[in-house]
Amino acid sequence: MSTFNLTDTTASKISATLTKLRHSMGAPAIGMVLTLVVVCDEGNQYDAVKAATEAAREHPSRILIVINRDPREPSRADAEIRVGEATPGEVVLLRLYGELTKHADSVISPLLLTDIPVVVWWPGGAPAKPAEDAIGKLGSRRITDALAATDADKALRSRSAGYTPGDTDLAWTRLTPWRSLLAAAFDQPMGKVAGGVVEAASGNASAPLLAAWLSYRLKADVKVEDSAGPGLTSVRLTLASGGDLTVERGDARLATLSRPGQPTRRVALARRPTAELLAEELRRLDPDDVYHETVRHMAEQSR
């Protein structure tokens, strides 16, 4: 891995340095499949870069990390460029100061790879309407993370109002194994569902989404209740024909699935690291209609 620092620089100098570095490394013949723009701050940049580079193993990318620094300083852009032999793609960390923090898109857009998809990810705080954000506008896919919001529930509801095809949220991605397990359980006819409860640690961002999805798809009332955690701990659906279908997970790793007339079974249901969540996001870049319908249902319900 070679690192290269540029202070008080411009997009064209960064571009030139990237080209030069690639050449001096013997031009690794890697076809990159997308540009990933990560908007974060100094506090979460380390984890975000790590997750993004890991996800890039599956989807070779140019990764642009935008870190806004003190807006009161004079305008300036510093860049740290990392090109590695062990990792595919390239990473550019951009630190912006002063006025420039409001015009990050002017640095980013010349650095996007030509004619292939752009994905924007906010691992921390995100704009209320991602698609209208200056950087968000550059992306065909915009990934937010309600986990980082102080009031996840509220953040998700507001996403519904500002939804544009291409928006998604990692709080939704985290649910895929749960949804997959529940969907598999319903592959065997289950009849009507009278109601249900999703239990999770207080403030869990994914729980209200899971409840909304279940309630929307099953046309039943599904509540969220607090538990001691960690994370999501159970889903209990009361069947109209009597009995409950439950998935319980006390240790964030192994769950038990039980339903009337069938033996209880254990299923691995581990939490996934951010890199895996991101890789899942990058696998499909078309609009996620089911996510949209779920947040919309969530917003409608609370009205």
Partner: protein, 537 residues
């Protein structure tokens, strides 16, 4: 070749499909329609197998330990196995469930692709069972039937069983007979029974038909899953994406632009401990009849109306039926046998010196065949197939070599070292696509030479890409047949190969080639006669 996205309002399919849908509770189209939590637009939800038991015969074998058991774990790790999934091992060992679990554990630890996770192992190990016995032992199969019944009750597997015969083919008839006798082959309403068999599917047309007959008297063709693990590979499926999802290649994918096609499967290893299996079989029967002809079919076929099993197989069969052998088999085919030499820095013995090989063995460890596809698209374009052991290195690829430009507005000297354009699908070990084309050499007036451009989607960087066996096992459990060759394809393969084998049997012996080289000189001569050369790999 992913499953066609399910249409919510699919028109009523034929009765056959409706019947299989009832029997399967995996993620099939009809299940999607009936399940309120599924939605064809919800592409995050993976295809998951329905509750079922996999009964594995031959668990002590190489294939089971290196590929099958690890692939089962990897599927579990990816969340693709249903809750309650159970695995039953069958072997002539005096083992308890725990012993087999231990064997599985070790195989997983050593060979699984994905990281070991305690919770996944717990889920899997709960469903591991073992049934000791010989194939001839009625009692052992009665026990198996009882055990499966019990598993249905304790694990909720609903009478859905897949029987994987990872055993020498000569035992197939005995095992399927036992399955029939014990009623295990018959699926009660609402459940399914499937049988999975591994190559070789016979050693010629006659034996392939016989083998199929023994399986078919018990299991209908729709319940038989034949493994050709090449078809489970990502790059091989990518041939279809490359050809049929793009506008760039299809217009030139024909005799108007293609000069010839080379399909190569080279191994650097010798026969190792497989002497008993390999001798008398040889390279052509071992890999050309199945893998290489499947690759040929995918490269040469017309576009299927959809990627469902029927349409795909129909197109592959059409192309296999159009395959023509060279008029003169002695100039249009070559077989070789490796002699002692140096392979990758190691001194290795010749085939005849390998343990267990008779001194007068005429087995081909190298085969090269020139075929033609007699249809409008390909008439006159040779397809050169070659496969061998103890070659320079391990590589499998399909290379489509294009014709030279009809006119070169350069001086002859400038294009002296310009070859033909090529599009190469690299199947293994370095999966990806290479395009070779001419480019100006910088700093010269107009010197043009060959350069190549590579593409490898992520897989190349991941610790390892999903194993073909993962995909195929999942497809068996879901009941999704497009990636499994039909018996008709197997028979067409033998119809192509049988005349060649007959010719070889009556004409001399294989040409020697030194281990570590690229086959006998006669193979180079075969191409030289056509004014062509093998790609240097």
């Amino acid at each position: 070749m992913s499953k066609k996205p399910a249409q919510p309002a699919a028109p009523a399919d034929d009765a056959h499909q409706a019947a299989t849908a009832v029997a399967a509770t995996a993620t099939t189209m009809d299940v999607v329609a009936a399940n309120p939590l599924r939605d064809p637009r919800d592409k995050r939800l993976p295809r998951v197998a329905g509750p079922c038991v996999l009964v594995l015969f031959g668990v002590t074998g190489d294939l089971a330990k290196k590929k099958l058991l690890p692939a089962i774990y990897d599927l579990g790790n990816r969340g693709l196995l249903p809750p309650g999934f159970s695995l039953v091992g069958f072997a002539r060992r005096d083992w308890a469930h725990e012993d087999f679990a231990q064997v599985t554990y070790e195989a997983v630890k050593e060979h699984a692709r994905t990281p070991f996770r305690e919770e996944v192992w717990k889920q899997l190990s709960e469903g591991i069972h073992f049934n000791p016995g010989e194939f001839s032992d009625d009692g052992a199969f009665d026990c198996l039937a009882m055990m499966l019944k019990e598993i249905d009750e304790t694990r909720g597997t609903g009478g859905n069983y897949a029987f994987y015969l990872s055993i020498p083919p000569k035992f197939f008839s005995q095992v399927v007979e036992q399955l029939k006798r014990t009623g295990l082959a018959n699926a009660p309403d609402g459940s399914w029974r499937r049988v999975v068999i591994e190559k070789p599917f016979g050693h010629d047309l006659k034996s392939a038909k016989e083998l199929n007959a023994t399986v078919n008297v018990v299991f209908p063709e729709s319940s038989v899953f034949r493994i050709d693990h090449y078809l489970g590979k990502e790059t091989v499926q990518n041939i279809l994406a490359l050809r049929f999802a793009n506008e760039l290649y299809e217009p030139i994918w024909n005799r108007g632009y293609v000069d010839h096609v080379q399909i190569t499967m080279a191994e650097d290893i010798g026969i190792g401990s497989r002497a008993g299996y390999y001798d008398g079989i040889g390279a052509a029967r071992d890999v050309v009849q199945n893998h290489l002809l499947q690759l040929l079919a995918l490269v040469a076929m017309e576009d299927p109306t959809s990627f469902d099993a029927d349409s795909l197989r129909r197109e592959k069969e059409k192309v296999l039926k159009a395959v023509r052998l060279p008029h003169d088999l002695s100039t249009g085919t070559v077989r070789g046998q490796y002699t002692a030499g140096w392979q990758g820095g190691e001194s290795v013995v010749g085939y005849l010196e390998e343990e267990g090989i008779p001194q007068d063995s005429k087995t081909d460890t190298y085969a090269a065949i020139k075929l033609e596809v007699a249809n409008r698209r390909w008439a006159g374009v040779p397809f050169y197939l070659r496969a061998g052991k103890r070659l320079g290195r391990r590589v499998t690829e399909v290379a489509v070599i294009f014709q030279r430009a009809p006119h070169l507005p350069f001086s002859k000297d400038d294009t002296e070292i310009l070859g033909q354009n090529a599009l190469v699908i690299r199947v293994q070990p370095d999966e990806g696509i290479t395009v070779r084309f001419g480019s100006k050499v910088p700093g010269t007036a107009m010197e043009v030479r060959d350069v190549s451009m590579d593409f490898a989607y992520g897989e190349a960087f991941m610790e390892s890409s999903p194993e073909a066996y993962e995909r195929l096992l999942l497809d068996v459990l879901i009941g999704d047949p497009p990636l499994f060759p039909h018996q008709r394809e197997v028979e067409l393969g033998w119809k192509i190969l049988d005349p060649i084998e007959d010719h070889w049997a009556t004409h001399g012996r294989p040409d020697g080639y030194e281990a570590g080289t690229w086959g006998p000189p006669s193979a180079d001569e075969m191409l030289a006669r056509d004014g062509r050369v093998w790609r240097r790999l």
